[in-house]
Symmetry: C2
Subunit: 152 residues, 2 copies
């Protein structure tokens, strides 16, 4: 499988995007790339085990803390999120303007969470990613088996 710069498959990448990418690539190779804030920010935002998942579920309506915790536990991975961590993540998401938190006047007070407008917007992106994986799950599975079968 010979590889050279000219042989890259750019299927599905639109030209404007490709141009932007190429420019950045050139900068990178030249060593002149400044720490690109959006890139770093993106991964600081979503680089943990739960944040995107929380955003995803909150995108489905208004949730009480406990209810949200139960659902995340079922969705997430094998594990459940701990009460502490859920509170932590919600705080962080609220701080960044993604999540809205409302406390009722009841005794004991009821606390509800939903997406703030900024969160709604990001939610669409997250959902797209889920869609992509759903659509390509079979291909990924196949690649995995092929890789495991023979030693390259």
């Amino acid at each position: 499988m010979p590889m050279d710069g000219a042989s890259i498959d750019l299927t599905g990448i639109d030209p404007a995007h490709h141009a932007a990418v190429s420019r950045l690539a050139a900068d990178m190779r030249a060593g002149g790339v400044r720490r690109d804030e959006p890139v770093r920010a993106t991964f600081a935002l979503l680089g943990d085990r739960w944040s995107t998942l929380i955003l995803l579920v909150l995108g489905m309506g208004v949730w009480r803390h406990a209810e949200l915790r139960r659902v995340l536990g079922r969705l997430g991975a094998e594990e459940k999120i701990s009460q502490r961590v859920l509170t932590l993540k919600l705080r962080a998401l609220e701080r960044d303007g993604f999540v809205a938190r409302a406390v009722s006047a009841d005794v004991p007070p009821k606390v509800s969470y939903a997406l703030a407008p900024l969160g709604e917007s990001l939610h669409a992106e997250a959902w797209r990613l889920i869609g992509w994986v759903r659509d390509h799950a079979a291909a990924i599975e196949a690649a995995r088996h092929a890789f495991d079968a023979q030693d390259e």
Copy 2:
């Protein structure tokens, strides 16, 4: 800021998407949600510090291992990725069909990495996410300041 089910801002969410989300939400609340494979798979795939970033850079061409490491170090966060981890992540991405690895016949052999077709496709999604964050960085920043300023 009162919140009830009817008041959610669904700006920018298309109706079909919204319907799908609502159905899933209903399942969730009913407790009947099976562990939704695509969702979990997505986060297993991209839920770490480097994979998406690696995908992003690989989308810009063909890279040697060392060169890739340098660039990632500049882009990533403050830190550089260790040689071990880069190899680990590249292996995993190769296994899933995202990355192609080529070894030349030279002595010593040169190893090059690029995106496989499946990776090209995912790359577009990753890039979109970067774009989203770039476009909303100011809003996030503002929310953060507002949150920090007064104690809610």
